[in-house]
């Protein structure tokens, strides 16, 4: 329930293990080669990988490679790229426009996408629909099934758009859905994936995973130019490598998801708490009475609140959340609401 967990031991150990030697810089090191091989394994095909320092950098760089400046990015109105990145996509794309679409649980409504994907296409007075960006899991913790992704991506492709996935919580989605990373991405039409590790036990590394190799040279120049090409890339790659080794990423996600489910189930049983969505990943939104929120904060619980609607709180679990943490929070809410 902490606002930001630390890093999991396997990743810490990997970073420590990368510290000693001397290696070629800028990705020409064995750790980076190793991480690339892991990505190829889990995605069941050759992929290009660019480590980056934040999810915002992953998203904004990806979008910049997929839309011209006069293009538009079709996304959910509550998507992170639209609401929480201080205009990073607009900056990296040199002024492309984010077109905000509605849909329940922060999932894009296919009919609205269909209308938007061809809107004013070819009209020189209007930005041109160029990319679909979907978030998996969504900002409310909801999931798209492979079929749903394929359907959205199909609408996009039919209109000539490229497809980006913001996978800040990709591991949580894979775990719950029980399908392969390939099924959720390139097999469903995704061209570029922002692959999150930081929120799931990582330290200072996320990655851009490129399924369309033609985009990689451009992305490489853009990443350098954005200050995202690190000389000691091995320290990012070692994290990513460890993250993908022996299923660590899925174990961490499964644990976080289970803790969120435990919290959700507990809150559902409390009359004063109003759970806003089904809990499918490691994030849940809950409406609580004002005094309850105030008391929880006073007691030292840390969580975002009132950023969406008054009285709405967001709880996020992680690899390090314990059953005891969950129960302590539930007990506090129970005490304060009854």
């Amino acid at each position: 329930m902490s606002v930001a967990a630390g890093a999991c031991p396997e990743i810490v150990q990997a970073v420590t293990g990368a510290a000693g030697g001397q290696d070629l810089p800028y990705g020409a090191d064995p750790f980076t080669a190793g991480a690339r091989a892991r990505f190829a394994e889990i995605f069941e095909r050759d992929v290009d990988v660019l480590p980056v320092s934040t999810g915002s950098a992953a998203n904004a760089l990806s979008l910049a490679a997929l839309t011209p400046p006069w293009g538009s990015v079709l996304c959910h109105r509550d998507s992170h790229i639209n609401t929480d990145e201080c205009g990073a996509p607009e900056f990296f794309t040199n002024g492309a426009k984010l077109v905000a679409l509605p849909g329940d649980d922060a999932r894009i409504d296919p009919d609205r996408l269909r209308a938007a994907a061809t809107r004013k296409a070819g009209d020189v007075h209007s930005v041109q629909p160029s990319v679909l960006s979907i978030t998996q899991a969504t900002e409310t913790g909801a999931l798209y099934t492979p079929d749903e992704i394929r359907a959205l991506a199909g609408i996009a492709k039919d209109a000539g758009l490229r497809v980006h996935m913001d996978g800040a919580r990709f591991a949580n989605a894979v775990t719950t859905l029980g399908c392969t990373p390939a099924e959720l991405t390139w097999q469903a039409g995704v061209d570029v994936l922002s692959f999150g590790a930081t929120k799931n036990g990582g330290m200072t590394a996320d990655a851009i995973v490129v399924f369309d190799h033609a985009l990689t040279p451009e992305l490489s120049f853009r990443a350098k130019r954005a200050g995202q090409l690190t000389s000691k890339m091995r320290f990012q790659s070692a994290q990513l490598d460890a993250y993908l080794t022996d299923g660590l990423w899925l174990r961490n996600a499964a644990h976080a998801n289970a803790m969120a489910a435990r919290l959700g189930n507990g809150l559902k049983a409390l009359p004063g708490a109003d759970l806003l969505h089904a809990v499918e990943a490691n994030i849940l939104f809950c409406r609580l009475p004002r005094p309850v929120i105030d008391h929880l904060l006073a007691e030292g619980f840390a969580f975002y609140h009132d950023r969406w609607e008054p009285g709405v709180c967001r709880f996020v679990t992680s690899f390090s959340t314990t059953g005891h943490d969950v129960d302590t929070l539930l007990e506090a809410v129970r005490r304060l609401t009854t």
Copy 2:
């Protein structure tokens, strides 16, 4: 002499120590507060600090806060910002122009700066001189004394320009010059410093040090928007904190400088090697015969060569370079040139 060393043990340990707990994200953690306090100590005044993932990000963000898009950045023609960042300054500043000035040892000639600082000032047809950027130590490993910095900064300030310092090798400069960080920066007129840690034992963190607090809000928005605001900032801050604790940064630099001096002295004694500059920091340039370069590479020595002029090699030492490493290289050159 490796192209990229690892990280020094104190910094690895600090990162490990930051991994366990749970903290507020985006810099509201005690590690970041601690790092800020350290920076205030070594600079003998209150400063604002923004951790970033690369020196290019530090430079480009700093410049973006110091020049409008229609401004120009006066810098040495061999400066990193002008030649090695793939246009990052142009990207972050939204198209400001880098005006390349000459000068020996990659140090800006004051007379040329004076002429450039007022050139076409007020002329709407021309970009407007807005920032002076100096590199300490320079790209050839030369140093500016505090007096020299004060003189350059004075020329800039008289013309209404702001002053940026690229301090990717700042520790090396402080060590050799034997003066205080304050004397080399804000006391000499520097407004913003790109503070390097990565090249001197760090892992994944450099920093922007802001001496003019009025710039900090803008820098904060720009950093977020550039994908440089990390949720788990503690992992960067812990590195910076350890780096500045108990003089680690200066010890690492002193060692690296000593190893470079040893290498320089050794090379000077070899008739086939032509040292291009006095060795003042941890970097040296040397002209070697083509077959010597080829043999060194074949024997596994790793260094940049032929990027500046044919036959010119760059050797860089670090906290982890040993006397044995230096002597092994010297021995190889001796063997190959005699």
Copy 3:
């Protein structure tokens, strides 16, 4: 009713009159001085004036001077800047975000503005509300009264925002409202005005009118850098001068408004035509049956249709529209709908 009228004789004559002599370039000519004096007269105060080649350039340059790249522009969702400029504001502002607000008749709802103006202010994760942009007359031809502008601008100013007005049809608004240009702009809180002339008898010139002189140097550099500073500015200035001389601009607008009213009144009387808004300026929207639209087009009438909703047509009148033109159109609609 034509999609684009020509230029009115007084303006043509002024351009012809400017062609003969030799003058200083880039605005240092007597025509430009004359136009500036006219603007000062009609706005009853000193103003700065930058002639530009299009309304899009006027809007985008103005906004760029009023918002940082990490800012947002609060505007109506149907505003020209949001829907019809292919992202010009995003380009000129280096990636600021347009926040689209609702409201009837393309007029911004004050309550929605109030909420948006402070939304996430100071939150580094979000673009910062920086400018209010209002269109007078609006894209549907509706008007804001001086009181309404003052109220909206007041909300903006209270939240620290600047105020821009898109006055592509400013003359039409002044004419109908019967108030002074000053009352509609700087006296109501407007900082910068995009002043349209092209749609009202002009040829190749619109203008930015700056009420806050502190913005002018920045605007001048931005205009040059955007390719909007013309060497033979006199040809734009002569148009603007003639436009403002002896009330030509208001006469043209009054005529165009009268023709729109005549058309509106006529359409109201026809059962098959559904007028969508009150007619306050020189533009009206009307829903017509599909076969009627098709026949009108086939008969050579030129108008936009189906860009907003299916069956919705836009008719625009101008200084050159005659009563006969209006009656001919009305007669055709009558014939086709009855």
Copy 4:
């Protein structure tokens, strides 16, 4: 010798003739179709044409379509794009870098071009050479022969670069060289031409002439987004049409060139005047003693001076310069220098 002449009668008349009717906007008018046909004629092939309001807009838009943001534009260090457009190319290209090359008479040295065209190609740390931009006639009034253009363009093409020509004084070059527009452009390897009309009798219109049709859609979106797509394009097109009709553009240029030659020959005969270049177009540079410059200005002669070097004056002739104008200036210089 005036700093800016007016417009020639044929062009004024064409504008007047375009003012009366009603036409489709944004280039779907017969004047624009007519101008396109004229361009096709004089270039002996199908071309796309985008009217723009300034030469800076023509240059910057063209370059933006020819280089990615991480590219570089190889140009002469004295070229207008590098020194006189306040960073317009950097703005429109979203931060590409201008690489300034030397060469006599503002003509690019082929050897320096050859070295620059492949410099750091493929190196992710460096901007990538992407476009060659040459100015015809150059900023000093010198000319490239078709063979010279073909040679420079060949070097560029061999390295994978595109070729842009800044033809602000294109007519003057065609006239002097006595070769066809085709020979000077697409037949020699030019992809996009900034075609100047304003300096040679035009009023408010220059044009981008596109020889590679694949670039046109992108240019169209960029032009709209830059505020360069005019609703009443006919007023620009009518100017361009008249300019190209019956050889007007070449007659105007021939006259201006002849006047420059007369001035040059006169100055050469005066001991106090030092002509800096051979006079091949309508522009000449001359070093004059300080008191002479001061007296000429005091007597009302208008010309740029001291922008390049102290004591250097630039004289420009036009379609409207008379032999009497030239002789009056010569007489004044003679009187003041002897």
